[in-house]
């Protein structure tokens, strides 16, 4: 049995791939649900109801999708250039705490129109800086950025925890330590009243479209793609590898930091160590399910948000641990990898 490279990838297959991956993942989760002794289709129905069954749940699903779109974009942009940014989780937290600090310490009383864009930019810059550290280590010391970005996640979250406990502690909050809240004027406006859905959704979708245009129309998009596909040939063709990677890292880290900023400014208004239930890591799955396509990221983020919000709802009415969502998401990643493989290779006896 051999694998033979396909000549061209039928377009249908390219669109079907994420769907096949998701179905395979859901099938596997179906097995796990059955193992828990619960009726499988009822469980899935409850997940769907949990995600879209009411106005509230639908807006919750959309709200949950927003940070996933941003971390998904962060991962997709980086992976396309073969920059393995696994640090989105930490970059998110750094973006979040920066927004809290800047708003409460420097921008008290500043009107929304100014404060919101400034804070978003600050959050992005903070995330950017965090990723530039592992990038520098890669360029200067040839250190693989996978491990350094991963390890920095722990450092970043501890750092944020420290700030929340000390200088940025909210003295008015009881119980769990939380940061000083951002100013009221910094909160992102809601899209729908009586829901948590905020304009971060529009920001994320707009950014996805912008990134798509950059990747397909600009010199930078062409060069970063070349750098990811074949760095040796890219260098021969004069692509400035170092500079290109720095720019890619800035955008990727910026998006992850932005995810943190948007989550704080859009939802709770303050930072705790529980701010992110793994958005950074889920962003990687989002990016892979989207096949690194920015527009696909929007859809993939919606799928993953559906799983998480839906599983929450389902677990309230059935005896199945919410972790089923995490398992489904993780197995989507693995099945997507296999599915991508079979769009590129066929089996020959």
């Amino acid at each position: 049995m051999r694998f033979e490279r396909r000549e061209n990838q039928p377009l249908l297959l390219i669109f079907a791939t994420p769907l096949i991956a998701v179905i395979a993942a859901l099938a596997l989760s179906g097995v796990l649900i059955a193992l828990a002794g619960a009726p499988v289709f009822e469980a899935y129905w409850n997940i769907v109801k949990g995600a879209f069954g009411s106005r509230l749940s639908t807006t919750e699903t959309l709200t949950r999708a927003i940070p996933l779109m941003l971390t998904g974009l962060a991962a997709a942009i980086a992976f396309r250039a073969k920059l393995w940014n696994i640090g989105a989780e930490g970059q998110l937290y750094i973006g979040a705490i920066t927004v809290s600090a800047v708003s409460s310490q420097l921008l008290a009383g500043t009107p929304s129109l100014i404060q919101i864009p400034v804070l978003l930019i600050c959050g992005a810059i903070a995330g950017m800086i965090l990723l530039l550290i592992p990038l520098w280590l890669r360029l200067r010391f040839s250190v693989d950025e996978v491990v350094t970005t991963l390890l920095l996640n722990f450092v970043a979250i501890l750092f944020v925890s420290m700030l929340i406990d000390t200088v940025l502690k909210d003295p008015l909050a009881f119980g769990w330590p939380q940061s000083l809240p951002v100013e009221d004027d910094a909160m992102l406006p809601r899209i729908l009243t009586r829901s948590r859905l905020h304009i971060g959704l529009f920001i994320a979708i707009a950014l996805a479209i912008i990134i798509y245009l950059i990747q397909t129309r600009t010199v930078f998009g062409l060069q970063s793609r070349a750098a990811g596909l074949n760095p040796e040939a890219a260098v021969f063709a004069g692509v400035p590898l170092g500079r290109t990677l720095v720019l890619v890292a800035m955008i990727s880290g910026g998006f992850a930091g932005l995810a943190g900023a948007v989550e704080v400014m859009g939802v709770q208004g303050y930072v705790t160590t529980e701010l992110s239930p793994g958005f950074g890591y889920s962003g990687i799955v989002v990016a892979m399910l989207a096949n690194l396509n920015p527009i696909g990221v929007i859809l993939a983020a919606l799928f993953i948000a559906t799983m998480f919000v839906g599983a929450d709802g389902m677990s309230r009415v059935m005896e199945i641990p919410t972790y089923i969502a995490d398992v489904t998401v993780a197995s989507s990643l693995l099945s997507m990898l296999v599915a991508i493989f079979f769009t590129q290779y066929r089996i020959r006896r």
Binding site: L222, N230, E232, V235, V239
Partner: protein
Amino acid sequence: MVGREVKRPVREASQPGEIILSAENVSVQQGGVDRLKAVDFHVREGEVLGIIGVSGNGQATLAQLLSGTAKRADGAITLFGEEVGDLSVPEIVDRGIGRIPEDRNHEGVIGEMAIWENAVLERIPEFSKNGLVDRSAGVKFADDVISAFDVRGATPTKRIRLLSGGNMQKLILGRNLLNQPRLLLAAQPARGLDEGAVAAVHERILNARKNGTGVILISEDLDEVLALADRIQAIVGGRLSPSVDAEDANARKMGLMMSGEWADQEVRDEV
């Protein structure tokens, strides 16, 4: 083997013009080791300088030096009459220098990218404005290269890895030669190609020479060098032999040159 009769093209007599590129006493270090040691060479308009040598004697480094991917440790390089420092790849391409890399698959093309993207990547400033890629100009350029250089089985938007080795090489040649470069660096241009493709590549190189392009041909293939070059230097242990004119060169003499018989004892011991 190719299905039709193939004859390798023959070099005509020519009158070389001015010196385009000359290198004096140039040394290059890589990985802490001297790969090129005090080499001297020059090439004129309309002539082919052949560098012959067994693989592992510094050819790759010489190609990298001239391609802009390796830096000089010592010596002087004069280009179009002016001494130059280390030039980056875009600067080299901008000055009208074409480069055919040794390894077309790993260095020459990006397999998953379209043919037109591969055609324009190294000269992207010509095909972009304000940072935006001019796709239609790029596709047209690729079309021109495909027809002028007889690249079979190619359309500009097709993935380049689907081309055969010979056609890929023709594209690489074409993207460099279509706009008449002043200098062409060709490293192992016919490696791994079938007879028909080899003849095509040789014909293009001789054509360029006829049009006044100076060509530096780095090759392991003695027959190729003897057929195409006006002057030949052997590369041995990172050093270049004195230049031998085509009339005086033959297989036996070049074989001796390749084993270093022109150098003093110290160098020969190194080899």
